[in-house]
Subunit: 183 residues, 2 copies
DNA sequence: TGGCGCTGCGGCATAACGTCGCACCCGCCT
DNA sequence: AGGCGGGTGCGACGTTATGCCGCAGCGCCA
């Protein structure tokens, strides 16, 4: 028997929507909204399937991936975030996540990613180049990643004013030109 | 002894820039511009380090990743593309690439990704990343080039207002970052 | 306990941007 | 010829974003 799907997302509303959507499909699911709660659930009964949000009240959900896999090797993790960036996507997959999806996304895509381990190799290549704003966002995320989330250090590396970086980070990422949920 | 870095990119100019940049650092490198050439090199002497572009004259460089790893398990692959997307990034990492970077990118970032087997972040930070303005400028030039100098078309592709593009083009290029050959 | 660095945020002057409009040129079609 | 569509350059104006101050809170460490 499979354990319930663990939904980790600090957005109460979205979290609820997900859990109920799973419930409607007779899939047991449990939602938590913080790293602490998540850890508690893990130590209690390591989940087999997890939907993980990256922005958990400032903390990065990324850190949870190794813990999940340590608790259960065959744990299937799908990362789901409203602030999708290539940098964090690469990191998440490297850490062992199965899939990385950008919100908004349909429940079915999440389920598919959770169930389906087969990646289609013949991934289509994007037709359009990134917009300048998107490129900037990706670049910032990458450097921020390299600096372990240190905003001041990132601002210095980017030769950008710290205040400006803060403001940029506070905003939503620019729309991604090509496909998102695909795969 | 390490084999030369294999650069797979159908953009002759960028390919040349990369190979020369490596040469300037006394790093042996060999550039090829097609999947066929790449396969030839692989069967001849499986490279240890590879810089792989995704858009190879229509074909996806993604397919080369399994082949490279089959030829040499410890092959280090860095995917580099001008048409980055989260979907292909996820795919590339799943297939075994070490890093996924969006053009334009600094040579140092490529080298750092190639060398850094361990997530030792310190090394990566050492090299200064491009400033956002410089990154933007490089990107604009690239797309402008692709559109044969057509400003209106470039503005559309970049989802930027034509007036804004004009103003940006009218200004001098942003302060020079660390990057070598102007690509 | 004070110093140091990171963080978040308010405020303000200035620069950049989005948007509209205009004139001009060029190639094409009828 | 005239009309039409597309590209280019540029002025003007209101709206945003940015650079740069400053302040307070927090964790860290000698």
């Amino acid at each position: 028997m499979r354990t319930a799907i663990l939904v980790v997302d600090d957005d109460d509303i979205f979290n609820g929507v997900l859990v109920r959507a799973f419930a409607r499909r007779d899939i047991p699911a449990r939602g938590v909204t913080s790293l602490e709660e998540a850890r508690a659930v893990i130590s209690e009964a390591a989940p087999e399937r997890v939907v993980l949000d990256l922005n958990l009240a400032g903390a990065s959900g990324l850190t949870l991936i190794p813990e999940l896999l340590a608790a259960r090797q065959d744990c299937r993790i799908v990362v789901l975030t409203g602030y999708a960036s290539i940098a964090t996507a690469v990191e998440a997959i490297k850490l062992g996540a199965m899939q990385y999806l950008a919100k908004p996304v349909e429940i079915d895509a999440i389920l598919a990613a959770l169930e389906d381990a087969t990646p289609e190799i013949e991934g289509a290549i994007a037709a359009e180049p990134m917009s300048v704003s998107r490129l900037e966002w990706e670049h910032i995320q990458r450097i921020l990643q390299a600096n372990e989330g240190n905003i001041s250090a990132t601002a210095r590396a980017l030769q950008m004013h710290r205040r400006t970086l803060q403001r940029k980070l506070g905003k939503r990422p620019p729309p991604f030109p090509p496909l998102a949920g695909g795969s």
